[in-house]
Symmetry: C2
Subunit: 709 residues, 2 copies
């Protein structure tokens, strides 16, 4: 029992974003940028080292940490630093021992100047009342001061520069032995360091990795492999140096080599699955579970795109991971780390990841982060980098005030054939949403001049988008305009975004739903990436039943092909090994891709129906929706609490968090009953119940029969 | 003899800036910025680590090196890199061995992408026709391409990241032994690693360093010391870890410790004293020698301010070192290294060293560099950083288009009491000269739009300066203006600069000479730093005799106090230990300060009289001036040649370089004679002789009697 309590406290400390005492601190973004370089330069494509395609930045080598203290009596502090450092007390250097310092009583300003060109300058100060946390100010030498940042490096020995993910042993589930080789199956997609147990002998060992059996069995074409040379006389376990993504590993070794078994050290980010979901449909349950596992595999030092190939930070991919994360781990730290690392340092010379749309998702990610967490401290630190990135974007508008791909820009949107030159309507929508984000953040920062500027820009752009791209004949937004010439093609992208952002009026919404979103003649979306937005937009207009069916077909389709994690792309029309090919390579496709995990988000937001109404879930709404299912139950996490929802055809049960109030909104064929609160009517067959903190509400109602689409 | 030839060739390779074969290459500025961080974070003040006061930048961690080759037959290349790397041939990754590669015949584009977060990514490729030199293109990932840079790392083993200055053993000249201590005198100011020979025993050893005997004998107040703990049973030489500046070292050690002798490893930049100077006055000769030694001590990885204390790069100090360097070492590489390191990376957030005037000296240094070397390749690489620094400066003008100290700016000018707020006339002059530099460089870069812009700005500013600050009553430029109110104080600074830059007309020049420069009522200049400009301006108007006298008094004054190198500041009114104090500390003053070495420049430029007339000494002028001396002889280096000058009261002898033409201009009481060329008259008692390459001219003439001032 005692052990359990200790473990729980440790766990709480790990998850917490508030310091309970001294912790290592650094200049915000520096640890993240440094770590992202470490992570992103681990990519290999067979023998070839493949670093990111974009500029890679460095931490500030010289950082000042400052705090003012008021002491009623002298206090001893102990100092640890990652780097060379000096200390000033009230502007005067301390010439004596700077590891243990006595601060005299009274009011004092203490400054530590830390230099480290190799890893981020970091500081750890331990005293009774004086200790490092985010109340310290951090300043790159002669730069702008902001609040120091920290994570969970809470002891002097846990150095930020030695950060490693957690590991635990994992056994293989199946082995196929041949002469000089063995094919090992770990039963599901995994990530870690292969271990050759009791390895002895001399010679070369080749390890060919596969997310599929076919890939591992293709030494010539598998995407990753390791070559090691050994010469050892006593049997010893060998743990491979690089962690790899694989389900299968095909090991080739010479006749003088033997080992007793193959296992792995599974490598993972220690986070709790705080969200939960179950329903009456076992396929949907399996989809949720595999989605959760997929997201967990891709949530590491940062939210990565996928685990086999790039293992890079891509803003468009990360944006979706953030949203899924709010319905599963609610790991704020991972969102912040990824946001800092994606942005990098000044000066802005290209779009994020060089992709036009990816700059916009970066802004939008901060909007969501603030809505879900209410974390103003982060906003304050990142705001200057938001402003400079937006300045870059604004500086690249054309004469019409719109964005288009300029030399050096990659206009991505999706892996699908479509015109990408000129002013794409979808890009203008993302730009407009980014301007709205800037207006919101500027306003939170009380930067009213800029807030008004951004507001004016977004309002005018929104009007311009509808004015230019809305086609009254096709009843949809058209794809784009180039050299003043409209391209009348209708694609889904812009229509999805406008729907999600609430830019359509009721008439437009209805038209777009039928003419675009549910119109089979419009080019289909084949990546889970864009399906995310497509299905979200459909849920936004109440098409949960349709979405559930799509989910079962699309994600269920992957499951029926044996997927243990969700893929980068899925085309039901393909067969066999064809599924694994991409980028012109037979195993180029990532079979564990974060953007494949969107059911986490869709089921949490649109079926459990939980959404923040004000920053940090101070106010929230629950609009549960069966979408044709018999029952659903689950939990949605908030920063430090959770909202539990159960809905069946005649009962709704909500357990509310202790620190915020919400609204339950639902439809019912009968007048619903709730002993724990007062239900009010809010329209035809629409009802609302105010949700007070820390309650357990039981509602009797009767679901409406949904039309079958 | 053979050894000598080998040594000479090595020496030539070392001095050369043209690659004779493969050499390590990097992205321009990256090695320099990285090295400057290493150097500048070595400062200590007693126990305290003191890094620079300004932002410190990092190299780009990810750099692409590219070259197109045309091969008539396949070629094998060997590759070395500082960092992880990949190779693409015609855009396709090479998957096989990337250390030895065969490039097929035909035309190919080869790219190496090198990643190194710790030290600058660098590349070394060795092949018959394909090898790394500055014909390669370097690009920070996704950034702008420029020509790769290099120095003298010509073998695969000489890694740029392991760069060290040269060392050689040096003996002490005197020792004073006491119980438990010894005071060691190396006879002159020096720099290196103390060596305790045959050291044996156990306990603590303290080494107190002194540029003066008094400093070494003051354990409590000396500026630098080392504390070491030893425990060794067999006598071994111990070389101290840090190199220090000192003449004296006072060593305290416990009774269980002994050593046989104390020496040092003198640490220095291996450069040749290419300039030379001798004259009929032995004090002046001694001043030249001590100046040369002072400059050499301060010319290290970079041109440092001084060797005991800061050991930092200060733009104002470096600017003067550059000019002295052109008359002594002509080490282009050291100028380039210092220029890159001072500038750092984008974005510009503060002035160089945070000092307003120091940004301007940085521009001016590039003007001079181009005039002395004609090196367009460097100009091309540094030009974008010139433009962005000038944008920063232009963005900080006030409504009158002038500069003044803004929050965060240090307005330095000189260590002397003077008003420093508002628009200082001296700062406007430096700004104006910087704009002229920009106009020149833009024009060399064929950036005609910018050239015209800068030209317009400098012309208008020059007119404004005279209009606003010229005082017709005082016949001088006044010190400044604040809030529209002129400060009618006359100080020397602006008047010196305007004189040097040729901004005065003949009338103004004459007035300023008498009313300011030679006027004892105007506040005196006490730093060698500003004496540099003061004496240069006086020489510019023919006051060599006066300047010689000043030189003998001022620099001779330091010599008579036993100086073995020249000081940061010298006030003849002080006595004894008072000379060593500065910054409120008894030994705070640097006794070996680069700006103390200006006689090198003054004697070379204004007495030997050699100056480039066009970039890179393509055209030059020799205007030798005895200044009252009986005879002078010496040499002035050019990039790869030298100009030798001898002048007495009736003879002038010039040996000309092989690759440029010049003019000898001199005054004579009689009609001069020269067998080797035709002398023409160019005014009253003024004569000119065209100097052709590679000649030895002997001129008979008669010097004019100079008035005694």
């Amino acid at each position: 029992m005692k052990k359990f309590i200790v473990a729980s406290i440790l766990f709480l400390l790990l998850l917490s974003d508030t310091s309970f005492g001294q912790t290592w601190i650094w200049y915000p973004g520096d640890f993240e940028i440094w770590l992202s370089n470490e992570v992103q330069t681990r990519r290999t494509e067979r023998d070839v080292f493949i670093p990111p395609f974009w500029r890679v930045d460095s931490h500030y080598p010289l950082v000042k940490f400052k705090r003012t203290v008021q002491l009623s009596k002298p206090e001893d502090i102990t100092v640890y630093a990652e780097g060379k450092y000096n200390v000033t007390l009230d502007g005067k250097y301390i010439y004596s021992d700077i590891h243990k310092i006595t601060i005299p009583s009274g009011k004092h300003e203490i400054t530590f100047l830390v230099n480290n060109p190799k890893t981020p300058p970091a500081l750890y100060v331990k005293g009774k009342t004086i200790f490092t946390d985010n109340s310290w100010e951090a300043t790159p030498q002669n730069g702008k001061s902001i609040s120091a940042d920290f994570w969970n490096f809470d002891s002097p020995e846990t150095l930020p520069s030695e950060y490693r993910l957690a590991v635990k042993p994992q056994k293989a589930v199946h082995k196929e032995q041949s002469a000089g080789s063995v094919l090992v199956d770990f039963g599901k997609e995994s990530f870690g360091f292969p271990v050759l147990q009791n390895l002895v002998g001399k010679g070369q060992i080749m390890l060919y990795y596969g997310e599929s059996r076919e890939e591992a069995l293709s030494p010539e074409k598998c995407e990753t492999f390791d070559r090691i040379e050994i010469d050892q006389h006593l049997p010893t376990d060998l743990i491979l140096k690089h962690s790899r993504a694989f389900r299968y590993v095909n090991i080739h070794f010479g006749k003088d080599i033997s080992f007793s078994d193959v296992s792995m050290m599974y490598e993972y980010l220690p986070v709790k699955y705080r969200g939960a979901f179950a329903c009456s449909d076992t396929i949907i349950n399996k989809i949720w579970e595999v989605s959760a596992y997929t997201l967990h595999l891709c949530s590491r030092e940062f939210f990565l795109d996928g685990i086999k190939r790039d293992r890079w930070l891509w803003s468009g991919d990360a944006y979706q991971s953030y949203l899924m994360n709010y319905y599963l781990f609610f790991d704020k730290e991972a969102v912040k780390r990824t946001t800092w690392a994606l942005r990098g340092k000044e000066p802005v010379e290209t779009h994020i990841n060089t992709i036009l749309d990816y700059s916009f998702y970066w802004f939008m990610g901060i909007y969501d982060y603030y809505m879900f967490t209410g974390d103003k401290a982060f906003l304050k630190n990142i705001y200057p980098r938001m402003v400079s990135l937006m300045e870059f974007c604004l500086g690249r508008r054309n004469i019409a005030g719109m964005v288009e791909g300029l030399p050096g820009d990659w206009v991505f949107l999706d892996w699908a054939p479509m015109p990408k030159t000129g002013e794409l309507s979808a890009e203008q929508l993302l730009f407009c949403r980014s301007l709205e984000t800037m207006a919101l953040c500027a306003s939170v920062m009380q930067d009213e001049v800029k807030a008004a500027e951004y507001k004016k820009l977004s309002t005018s752009l929104k009007a311009k988008i509808i004015d230019v791209f809305w086609d009254n004949k096709q009843n949809a937004l058209v794809h784009g305009r180039e050299n003043g010439q409209l391209n009348n093609l209708v694609t889904k992208y812009a229509n999805i975004f406008a729907m999600m952002f609430g830019y359509f009026d009721a008439v437009q919404t209805a038209k777009v739903k039928d003419n675009v979103l549910l119109n089979n003649k419009i080019q289909k979306i084949t990546t889970p990436y864009m399906r995310f937005y497509e299905l979200a937009a459909l849920c936004d207009i109440g098409e949960q039943k349709y979405v559930l069916n799509e989910m079962k077909n699309y994600w269920g389709g992957m499951l029926s092909l044996g997927a243990t994690s969700f893929w980068e792309e899925y085309n039901p029309a393909l067969t066999g090994k064809e599924h694994y090919a991409m980028y012109g390579r037979p195993f180029g496709k990532s079979l564990c891709h974060a953007w494949g995990a969107s059911p986490i988000y869709l089921l949490g937001k649109y079926f459990l129906g939980v959404k923040p109404l004000s920053p940090g879930y101070q106010k929230y709404i629950v609009e549960p929706e069966l979408g044709g299912l018999e029952w659903i139950e689950g939990k949605v996490p908030t920063s430090d609490n959770e909202i539990a929802v159960m809905i069946s055809r005649n009962k709704i049960n909500i357990k509310t968090p202790s620190n915020s109030t919400g609204i339950l909104r639902f439809k019912s064929n009968i007048k619903p009953i709730c002993k724990e609160g007062t239900i009010s009517s809010s329209g035809e067959k629409m009802y609302e119940l105010e949700l007070l903190p820390n309650r357990d509400y039981q509602v009797s109602y009767q679901t409406l029969q949904l039309k079958n689409k």
